[in-house]
């Protein structure tokens, strides 16, 4: 029988985790309540929906045994999807909270400009045919077993040729047809095409291979598997004593500073041709 927290909805089946939760979360309950009351009475509360998450709530999720518990950090990003503020320093000043323990989120940076075309259809197709492009769970699991078990290619063909595999239920009967299905498994694999370049070092010409970096970024951002671990805006997080917490890239200074300083002189746009010209000028000066 899981134990439920007295002032929250977290449930714990292990006594150790429950005791830790009581000690960490409810030990300073008076401070939490005071912050909540003060925050609720603040006139700017409604303008900053995502920021009423206390920083230590993320730790509670880690202790919780309850798999159905929603991740509190998840709805921080979800709420800000609907906010349509302009990103500038003026709005930044408004988001600064008098509470030292309240995380600050750079306003407007998570704003979306449109919906992805065909995304809903893609989702509904995925729900209707979860094993697509495989016909059944059997076909998908068999392919997973082949790949994760690092079964040799010739052994896969041998498996089907000897009649061990049920080709009708798996929808593939050889390594070739399995390869075709695996390529169709990732709909965004077109982003990961390889290009070939040539390096000439004066003595010989060598080939090298590279991908388009922007396409790699598109590929990673499009992966549904990472949807819950994406962060789209820099944060400033504080502990209950008001001390800044640096834990992730989005809680550090680099991202925040770059976001609030769009007109930094060192960030002026340069073309590669211009850069190249400077480079060769300086090289000539130092060789002479």
């Amino acid at each position: 029988m899981p134990n439920k927290g007295p002032f929250c909805r977290w449930k714990y089946s292990r006594p150790g985790a429950y005791e830790k939760h009581l000690r960490n979360a409810n030990g300073n309950l008076d401070i939490v309540l005071a912050c909540t009351i003060k925050y609720a009475s603040s006139p700017t509360t409604n303008d900053n929906k995502g920021s009423n998450i206390l920083p230590h709530e993320g730790h509670l999720r880690l202790d919780s045994d309850y798999e159905s518990d929603p991740d509190p950090t998840r709805h921080v990003y979800g709420v800000f999807d609907d906010i349509s503020h302009e990103s500038d320093t003026e709005t930044l000043k408004e988001t600064v909270s008098p509470l030292p323990c309240k995380p600050m989120l750079y306003d407007g940076t998570v704003k979306s400009i449109a919906d992805v075309k065909g995304f809903k259809q893609e989702q509904s197709t995925l729900c209707q045919h979860p094993w697509s492009p495989f016909s059944s769970a059997h076909g998908f699991k068999l392919a997973s077993w082949f790949i994760e078990g690092k079964v040799h290619k010739s052994r896969i063909n041998e498996y089907f040729a000897s009649g061990l595999g049920n080709a009708s239920s798996a929808w593939y009967s050889s390594l070739h047809t399995l390869d075709n299905l695996l390529q169709a498994l990732d709909p965004h694999s077109a982003y990961l095409q390889w290009n070939e370049g040539q390096v000439d070092d004066g003595k010989r010409t060598l080939p090298f291979f590279y991908r388009n970096v922007l396409d790699c970024v598109r590929y990673l951002l499009r992966q549904i598997a990472y949807r819950d671990v994406f962060v789209y805006a820099p944060h400033m997080e504080y502990d209950t004593n008001g001390q800044r917490i640096y834990a992730e890239m989005h809680t550090a200074d680099w991202w925040w500073n770059l976001q609030v300083q769009p007109h930094n002189p060192f960030l002026s746009k340069q073309s590669l041709t211009e850069t190249r010209r400077h480079f060769h000028q300086v090289r000539r000066l130092f060789r002479s």
Binding site: V213, V217, Q223, W255, L267, H278, F286
Partner: protein
């Protein structure tokens, strides 16, 4: 991130230089997991042969190699130039299109690759202008390197104007005009150098401390006892139980420490 990798000893000594990429938008707990597949291979580069410092022809060839490397990285990152400054709409995993600014934020490599990529001397810091003789001291805070100045100014003119005749490229520990990342929009070159946990902490501080402890234990004849205790360490979540004594391990990997 990148790391020159030894591929084969047989059929000729083959080496490759893989370059990887990941996103800073991903939470580190997931990003660091090897099975999450969040790190993509961006390029496989050839490694130029090692050249001696004495020969003038080799010095010329080294310069050509550095220029070639710069051209290769220029080609790889050319697609980021305009989007880093103006933004580009990108489809996101939650079904929204966002205006994104893909910017190179960090480059995680060991020191010798920093030397190659940033165009510094092997005994120089890629971040600040600390002289080589003061590297192990903590006496003074030095200026953060401004690679833009290194590239944009005639050094002799700059030295004359600033009245610092003792400041030369050699004293600053740089080989001028060789930072392969120079020219990328919105990239702060001195911030690219990020100390990773393996090299500065585990292989730097921890190894230095353990060498000191080993010497101390050897002097007092307690090294064998230490080895037995080391091998008898109990398992713990996230801790890999050592199978060998500490001094028997020739090369440490991140997962072992």
């Amino acid at each position: 991130m990148s790391d020159q990798t030894h591929l084969t000893n047989f059929s000729g000594v083959k080496k490759a230089w893989p370059v990887y990429i990941t996103l800073g938008n991903l939470l580190s707990g997931r990003c660091n997991s090897p099975t999450s597949m969040e790190v993509l291979l961006v390029a496989l580069l050839p490694i130029p042969p090692k050249l001696s410092k004495s020969s003038k022809a080799d010095q010329h060839q080294r310069q050509i190699n550095a220029d070639t490397l710069r051209d290769v990285f220029e080609l790889i990152f050319a697609s980021l130039q305009d989007p880093a400054h103006d933004g580009v709409p990108i489809d996101c995993a939650n079904g929204k299109v966002r205006r994104c600014f893909p910017i190179l934020a960090a480059w995680i490599v060991d020191h010798m690759e920093n030397v190659t990529l940033h165009g510094i001397k092997s005994n120089s810091c890629p971040r600040c202008e600390v002289p080589a003789v003061e590297l192990s001291t903590n006496m003074k805070v030095y200026l953060v390197r401004d690679y833009a100045i290194y590239h944009h100014y005639d050094y002799e003119h700059w030295i004359r104007e600033t009245d610092h005749a003792d400041i030369t490229p050699e004293s600053l520990g740089i080989r001028l005009g060789q930072n392969v990342f120079y020219g990328l929009n919105r990239v702060s070159l001195s911030d690219l150098h990020i100390p990773d946990i393996l090299h500065p902490v585990y292989l730097g501080l921890f190894k230095h401390m353990m060498d000191w402890i080993q010497g101390f234990l050897k002097k007092h004849g307690r090294l064998e006892v230490f080895d037995e205790v080391w091998k008898a360490l109990p398992p713990y979540p996230g801790f890999l139980v050592p199978k060998k004594a500490y001094r028997e391990v020739m090369q440490w990997q991140g997962k072992e420490i």
